[in-house]
């Protein structure tokens, strides 16, 4: 509805203004007529001038009497004219001199010759013409806007249909596994709406919760921006596909400490660079999954070999082999904190918060030209997700694995502390200086001189003690070194 109103407004406003402009031109003609009428009186003057000659004869004859002949329809102007003529009449009482009137004959001769000149019609340039054809650029623009609006409506509806198709297929499986399916977070309490939560015209969310092992599962249907014509055109150059991203947040006690990732080689390389946990714990290059019976297209990134061995059981391999084309990436991590944050120097004083997470990214088949059937074909992948949740709960590292994992985590923390050591030192130094300054101010502000002296002595004694301590430490270190 919104888009319709906008479209109508776009058409009507310039249309009404264009019409108003045309009205002005029509009125112009009427104005001209009125102007003509204003000068109508003076038009008659020229005719009266011709008729004046016989009147002149009359006035010259009556000159001695100085009688002014009043004719009908004459006003004051005419009388003035008559008086002027009366005065001139004296000089004109003599017989007409032909030489005087030579110029006058030419005038009537030249005016008809002027009428014989042909009227040339000048071509009005295109931009001054008032025809619709000259506005072709504007028509193009409006057509473009209409096309954009049409694409918006069509794209929006298609994304909606795909989302509904996905949800209708998966609803049963989800409702049997989770107590709460679909919550948009608007109510204080968790209420199951049983509907997808539309974040955008191309992103749909679904929150499921209420199952053993996991806190909750957030499913994001990330469709292509079919509602944006620019995006549609860009996709013609660079094909892309819809994605389904599933993020399972595990309970702390239900998952052991390990970092493991699996997916297409390209995706893993990208994730290794972007993700905080993968870059810190899985420093090796992605290895081919062929060793475990997976197709060549899939690669594995793992913190240690034991985790890979544990994860790749028969059922998992079966899932991965059958649906390899739909899998973009799978990530199991107890140190998941999202992508690396771009931080300025001096601000990083604490490690980012981590959560035990299972992250799945699936590609919808069809690479852009998706149909509702393609969305339905993702159902087995959801079964894989549920299976993975249970698997992550069951899988426990042995003693060696646990030791290795703990060592890794301690190492990462140490590295982090070393990096921030300088910043933390500076922070401590500045805090110490602040304290000293505050004390000095207190001493200065003391009015009682006795108290002032005592406080100063106390501050001196404290500083001396600190110096002594430092010297002791240095001596101890020297002794140890020796």
């Amino acid at each position: 509805m919104k888009s319709l109103c906008i479209f109508l407004a776009v058409l009507f406003i310039p249309w009404s203004f264009a019409l108003a402009k045309y009205d002005e031109f029509e009125d112009g003609d009427d104005i001209m007529e009125y102007d003509d009428n204003d000068f109508a009186e003076f038009e008659d003057v020229s005719e009266d001038a011709i008729t004046e000659s016989p009147q002149r004869i009359i006035t010259t004859e009556d000159d001695e009497e100085e009688a002014t002949v009043e004719l009908e329809g004459q006003d004051e102007n005419q009388e003035d004219f008559d008086d002027a003529d009366a005065q001139e009449g004296d000089t004109e009482s003599e017989p007409y001199d032909d030489e005087e009137f030579e110029g006058y004959e030419e005038k009537p001769d030249t005016s008809p010759s002027k009428n014989k000149d042909p009227i040339t019609i000048v071509n009005v340039p295109a931009h001054l013409q008032n025809s619709w054809e000259s506005y072709y650029m504007e028509i193009l623009m409006v057509t473009g806007l209409l096309a954009y609006i049409m694409n918006y409506i069509i794209g929006k509806n298609k994304n909606n249909r795909l989302a509904q198709a996905w949800f209708n297929t998966h609803r049963e499986l989800l409702e049997s596994n989770f107590a709460l399916v679909g919550d948009d977070g608007t109510n204080k309490e968790a209420t199951s709406t049983g509907k997808l939560n539309q974040e955008n015209e191309h992103i749909y969310n679904l929150w499921c919760s209420g199952r053993v092992c996991c806190e909750g599962m957030l499913i994001q249907l990330k469709f292509l921006k079919r509602q944006d014509l620019l995006n549609v055109l860009a996709r013609m150059m660079r094909p892309a596909c819809d994605q389904v991203q599933i993020k399972v947040t595990m309970n702390d006690e239900d998952m052991d400490t390990y970092v493991f990732a699996l997916g297409t080689r390209k995706a893993l390389v990208r994730l290794q660079k972007e993700m905080q946990d993968l870059s810190e714990f899985c420093s090796d290059k992605p290895k081919s999954g062929a060793k475990y019976g997976l197709p060549d297209s899939l690669a594995i990134l793992s913190e240690m070999g034991e985790v890979t061995e544990g994860m790749m059981d028969a059922k998992m391999v079966h899932f991965l082999t059958h649906y390899a084309d739909k899998i973009e990436s799978v990530q199991f991590s107890d140190q998941f904190s999202g992508p690396k944050l771009m931080q300025e120097e001096g601000q990083l004083t604490k490690l980012p918060e981590t959560k035990k997470t299972l992250l799945f990214t699936f590609n919808v088949p069809g690479s852009g030209n998706t149909s509702p059937k393609d969305m339905e074909s993702l159902l087995p992948l959801m079964s894989m997700v549920i299976y993975s949740i249970d698997k992550a709960k069951k899988f426990r590292l042995n003693r060696e694995g646990k030791q290795k994992a703990d060592k890794n985590r301690a190492r990462v923390e140490e590295n982090f502390l070393k990096l921030t050591h300088v910043q933390r030192q500076e922070a401590a130094q500045s805090r110490r200086e602040e304290k000293k300054r505050a004390e000095k101010e207190r001493i200065m502000n003391e009015e009682d001189p006795e108290k002032q002296r005592r406080l100063e002595e106390a501050a001196l004694r404290r500083e001396q003690k600190k110096l002594e301590k430092k010297q002791m430490k240095m001596k101890q270190i020297k002794v140890k070194a020796m």
């Binding site: 310039p14 989770f178 974040e199 199952r211």
Partner: protein, 99 residues
């Protein structure tokens, strides 16, 4: 298999600060661009600027998130429409192509 253990947790939308890389900046950029072009079209009386502003505000609307303020969107859109109308009121001649 429905194993329901502890009570379900309610949904908490991921905050935008925690995932800046995932946030799409397109609607904000297009909004700003639309306003800039509208002002250019109004001040410099350039028709093509005004038309581009209309397109920018449409693109911003199409890419916007549902949580975003519709007032901002509508104001940018109205500004671009007014830029187009004012350009044509001042100079009703059609737009000439740049070639």
């Amino acid at each position: 298999r429905g194993q329901r253990g502890r009570p379900p947790r309610s949904y908490k939308a991921p905050s935008a600060e925690s995932s800046p890389a995932l946030e799409d900046p397109t609607p904000d950029y297009m909004n700003l661009l639309g306003m800039v072009f509208s002002m250019c079209g109004l001040m410099l009386k350039l028709k093509w600027c005004a038309w581009i502003a209309v397109y920018c505000s449409f693109i911003s609307f199409a890419n916007s998130r549902s949580s975003e303020d519709t007032k901002q969107m509508m104001s940018s859109f109205m500004l671009s429409i007014s830029a187009v109308v004012m350009s044509y009121l001042q100079n009703p001649q059609p737009m000439s192509p740049p070639w």
